[in-house]
């Protein structure tokens, strides 16, 4: 195990930021700590780094208990949310910093430092910027320089705090894939913090979903998406329709044939692509109509409303490929029949 956390708890005043976190991260993984703001994900990352002390629990890096070690002895690379580049130093000096502050015995010579810094600059494809100052760089460039600086000390783990949070949408897309490829190349165990589920799904090999200071679920992106183990994870990852199988609701869902399975709980979560939509000509049999639809690229999202329900909460979302939608030839206001192909049940 590259990183092991045992019974980590942290309290800020009366607020419990982390509550008995246990986590094993194998060597070479790229892990996303995912959760809404205030769930404790950044605090957890800072505890792993040693920038914050846990009230209880132990942190192991490569099998060594580093709980009482200060950050400078932990051999971690940390990329800060706003990069924290040294603004009075050139890009070159920023990256060389970690090598130049080493104790005299371990410190490489200036020639070696130069080679190493240029190699890192080539890795992040920014060698031509070596004599610039951080203020003269764009957000994406700063981010990559911050990464190169963190990698200069050959860290055993790489920790990134909201690495794409401060970037433009288009730059963010490119950098996500770039980070994933870079990780493949370097294979250094990495953890990044994010509140964006799409980002986590796209970049990470493992996702740890946090909520209220606890781990809700840990798994690969497809495990998290296809087998959510809690109501929270199901709602947080991707879009979900929530049906409460109680009272009137149950009657309605059954009478219209929407739910075919026997209920396995009190709440059904249904992904939009797990709802089949068919056009009906006989309006008396259907109580659902197409309110609106949006083009999402490869798929069409349908907004379906029930008769007599106008609140936003009562809208059912379904998704289908473009061609299927074209074949159905639906128009706004058309009556439709629904069928749920697959649901996740929670109590």
């Amino acid at each position: 195990m590259s990183i092991t956390l045992q019974h980590i708890s942290k309290q800020f005043g009366a607020f419990k930021a982390l509550d008995d976190i246990n986590l094993d991260i194998p060597e070479g993984e790229l892990v996303a700590l995912l959760g809404p703001s205030g769930c404790g994900k950044t605090t957890l990352l800072r505890i792993i780094a040693g920038l914050e002390q846990a009230d209880q629990g132990d942190v192991f890096l490569k099998g060594d208990n580093v709980t009482d070690q200060p950050v400078k002895n932990r051999r971690i690379g940390f990329v800060f949310q706003h990069y924290a580049l040294f603004r009075h130093m050139t890009v070159f000096d920023n990256i060389a910093f970690g090598l130049r502050v080493k104790p005299r015995k371990e410190r490489p010579g200036e020639a070696q430092i130069k080679d190493k810094v240029h190699a890192l600059l080539q890795l992040v494809q920014l060698d031509w910027l070596h004599d610039r100052f951080p203020d003269q760089l764009s957000g994406g460039q700063r981010q990559r320089i911050a990464l190169a600086r963190a990698l200069a000390v050959e860290p055993s783990v790489l920790l990134l705090d909201e690495p794409f949070g401060a970037l433009d949408a288009s730059v963010r897309k490119d950098l996500r894939l770039w980070l994933r490829h870079l990780h493949h190349e370097l294979n250094v165990t990495s953890i990044f913090v994010t509140h964006d589920q799409e980002e986590a799904m796209e970049v990470a090999s493992q996702i740890v979903v946090l909520n209220h200071g606890k781990i809700e679920q840990k798994g690969t992106p497809s495990e998290i998406y296809d087998q959510p183990q809690s109501d929270f994870v199901s709602r947080f990852i991707g879009q979900t329709n929530v049906f409460h199988i109680e009272g009137d609701e149950q009657h309605w869902l059954k009478s219209t044939g929407i739910i075919v399975d026997e209920p396995k709980g009190t709440v059904a979560h249904v992904r939009p692509h797990n709802i089949d939509v068919e056009k009906v000509t006989d309006a008396t049999n259907s109580r659902v109509f197409l309110k609106d639809w949006q083009h999402l690229g490869g798929t069409i999202r349908l907004e379906l409303n029930r008769d007599g329900h106008n609140g936003s909460g009562s809208t059912i979302y379904a998704e289908m490929p473009n061609e299927q939608f074209r074949e159905l030839a639906l128009h706004k206001g058309d009556r439709v029949a629904l069928r749920i192909k697959h649901a996740h049940w929670f109590n």
């Binding site: 040294f86 009075h88 502050v101």
Partner: protein, 275 residues
């Protein structure tokens, strides 16, 4: 001139600025120059090279430089303490920093003289302990000028420290730097320009300081007489041209020194990529 700004009023604002600059700064300074021109070049040279004038320049500029240097270091520590650490009474302490700005300088001078004179509270103790007399010596002038200059330094460094991104320190630590390395490599270069500004302000103020100095200086010619006092002395002897001649040279020297300090700052900013 075509209208190139969104906000109107460039011309009235510039006119207003130039008018008051002339009224308050340029005309009085020109008058000084004119008065000096009543002297012949020989007379002018004789006044400037007299031993009394030369020593007073040395005392004024020397004491101001030393005091500004000490104030820069002390002020940096105080600003650091005020920004970085919470402690009880911090707000009151913070307000006390500005006191030398508000206090009549003569009051400050009398108080300092009373305390640091050989029989005063602290002066007596220092005299007994290490045999050094503070008041009525050039050392007393330095003490008074530190008192006057300190708030300039604290108030210029404080905002810079407040804005300092502490993630930079954390980044330095995560890269393996110890506290000392983080301080010398990261924090110091970031606050140095502000410290130099504070130093320049304290120095400029110290060179011309009169009120607080004359009470503690002892005002012995050739030893602890400052330039402003010498100017007053000349005025009292109705030697107006002599007084303005000294004033003019003081003005020029201060101007050159401040220009050098500004140049130093410009060079540092440029080296740090802030220009």
């Amino acid at each position: 001139m075509p209208q190139s700004h969104i906000m109107p009023g460039f011309r009235p604002a510039l006119g207003f600025t130039l008018f008051y600059l002339a009224l308050i700064v340029l005309i009085p300074l020109s008058a000084m120059l004119l008065k000096t021109l009543q002297l012949s070049l020989d007379q002018f040279w004789e006044i400037l090279t007299s031993r009394r004038v030369l020593t007073s320049f040395r005392v004024s500029f020397g004491a101001a430089l030393i005091a500004a240097g000490i104030a820069a270091v002390l002020g940096s520590v105080i600003a650091w303490c005020l920004v970085r650490y919470p402690f009880p009474g911090k707000k009151i302490f913070d307000a006390l920093i500005d006191l030398p700005f508000a206090l009549p300088t003569a009051v400050a001078g009398i108080v300092l003289a009373t305390i640091y004179e050989p029989k005063g509270w602290i002066g007596k103790w220092v005299m007994d302990a290490i045999g050094v007399q503070i008041a009525y010596k050039p050392l007393g002038i330095v003490f008074a000028l530190i008192f006057i200059g300190l708030p300039f330094v604290v108030r210029t460094i404080e905002p810079v420290l407040q804005e300092f991104d502490s993630a930079m320190e954390e980044a330095a630590a995560s890269l393996g730097a110890n506290r000392w390395q983080a301080f010398t490599n990261i924090i110091l270069p970031n606050i140095l320009p502000a410290a130099i500004t504070g130093f320049a302000l304290a120095f400029a103020r110290g060179v011309g300081e009169y009120g607080s100095v004359i009470f503690i200086a002892g005002n012995m010619p050739y030893v602890s007489e400052v330039v402003p006092l010498l100017i007053i002395t000349k005025l009292e002897q109705y030697d107006y041209a002599g007084a303005t001649a000294i004033g003019l040279i003081m003005l020029l020297l201060s101007f050159v020194l401040l220009l050098m300090i500004n140049g130093l700052q410009w060079w540092m900013r440029r080296r740090n990529g802030q220009l």
